[in-house]
Amino acid sequence: MLQIENLSAEIGGTKILDGLSLSVGAGEVHAIMGPNGAGKSTLAYVLGGRPGYEVTGGSVRFDGKDLLDMEPHERAAAGMFLGFQYPVEIPGVSNVQFLREALNAQRKHRGEEPLNGGEFLKLAKEKAALLKLDMDMLKRHVNVGFSGGEKKRAEMVQMGILDPSFAVLDETDSGLDIDSLRVVGDGINAIMRQPGKGVLLITHYQRLLQVVQPDYVHILSQGRIAKTGSADLANQLEAEGYDKVMAA
């Protein structure tokens, strides 16, 4: 459902992605690992259309459509979800208002009827419970005063409510304690481990991959996929480190 071909991108004139190719089919979870500075977050932001990230070559097709031709909000409406490494605080806007506006904007874009307040709250309660996030947190302003772990759980509640067909999760496991990691991992499985959905999981650690088991693991290095393997590759990396695995 996602085909990245020979993708190159730069930030402020510095080349970060350099001919990256990757294909994720429906029902698959792909993990992307790689040393610091390899371009993992850049890949996430390029897929999410963040301003400042300039695509200089290659193509990305999402469900057969040209993803790079869409505005960020159109990508979301088309079913793409970007989980942020550093979720953004929005003072003055409650989570409930933010997510209802987001969901209804997506529905409108797809020609669907908006959810009313009651329907939305029911959905929000259900997804908050799935991620064990107190419903009161959703009445507060978006991410304001949330701990690192709460922000990541809130991201997954957002994903549950918006119900995307494809998720790019950028270090969703960073800043999580062991229990939270399990809750977030179970949440990803419940929301995204479905036929017809795909996940690109960017992570530094193999721990999340024990909960959300990937079908493929890729090592990103110097802006391109340097090695691809099964879930075992993550274990091997954990045991031996990047240098040794890459040299093999």
């Binding site: 942020f84 929005i90 806007v93 933010f98 987001a102 904007a105 874009h109």
Partner: protein, 255 residues
């Protein structure tokens, strides 16, 4: 008395209280119209002032209030200047012992409009409290001003006065001016004032876009959150919604 004698001089921008005003728009406007309000000790009085587009709205709109707040009385004013080429809401307040003055103000506007609040709050007796919050959102070549002076007389100990202004500029040509002026002659007082000016948080807008919110809607939500600060002290939901609607309609229509 002749007209000339009543107004020996028209205000100019050299006058402190008219420094950023559209003084040229005052031609033919009666500057002597003040509304005087006296709030008896212990009483409460509140008012919602709205300058919005309408058949009666003139090119220049002046609202001038002089308020005497008696001992232990409360006064709350929530106001929005969202129409007229030049709109000015001017409030002079004299506060008795233990009185409270609450003011929330919003200016919005584009093109080359000027919309402003000018307040002078006199803490004339001890233990009075005042709180003023003004939010200005401007675009095009629009200007928003807040000139707020707080005078604390020598005997007005235990005064607690706060003034907070924030401006949000949506276009490069827009501007806001904040002139806080504090004159404090008592020694046991708290006076706080703050003024900032900024642009929309583009990181927040991108985050919203990544969740499916289109640019017009994210701007509206952020502006709503921004001006909401000025209405925090307003307990009446209907009035709050009305003021908010006037501001956001203006934004929707003219942006």
């Amino acid at each position: 008395m002749s007209e000339l004698a009543t107004h020996p001089t028209r205000p100019t921008r050299r006058d402190e209280a008219w420094r950023y005003s559209a003084v040229e728009a005052l031609e033919g406007v009666d500057l002597d119209v003040w509304r005087d309000i006296t709030i008896a000790p212990g009483e409460s009085w509140s008012e919602c002032l709205v300058i919005e587009d309408g058949a009666d709205t003139a090119a220049t709109e002046l609202r001038r209030l002089r308020i005497d707040i008696g001992a232990g009385a409360r006064c709350a004013i929530f106001a929005i200047a969202a129409a007229a080429e030049y709109a000015r809401i001017e409030i002079e307040v004299r506060m008795g012992r233990g009185a409270h003055f609450e003011m929330g103000g919003i200016t919005v506007g584009g093109r080359d409009t000027v919309r402003e609040f000018v307040t002078r709050v006199v803490h004339a007796e001890p233990e009075a409290t005042s709180n003023q919050t003004v939010r200005s959102v401007h675009w095009g070549k629009g200007t928003g001003n807040f000139l707020g002076s707080i005078d604390v007389v020598r005997d007005a100990q235990k005064t607690d006065a706060a003034q907070d202004f924030k401006g949000l500029l949506l276009d490069r040509g827009a501007s806001v001016n904040a002139v806080p002026q504090l004159e404090i002659f008592a020694d046991d007082v708290k006076c706080a004032h703050g003024a900032t000016v900024g642009q929309l948080d583009e990181t927040a807008r991108y985050y919203m876009a990544a969740r499916g919110i289109p640019p017009e809607l994210s701007r509206r939500l952020l502006v709503q959150a921004f001006i909401g600060d000025a209405l925090v002290g307003l307990s009446d939901d209907d009035t709050r919604e009305r003021l908010m609607r006037v501001a956001l309609d203006k934004l929707d229509k003219h942006l």
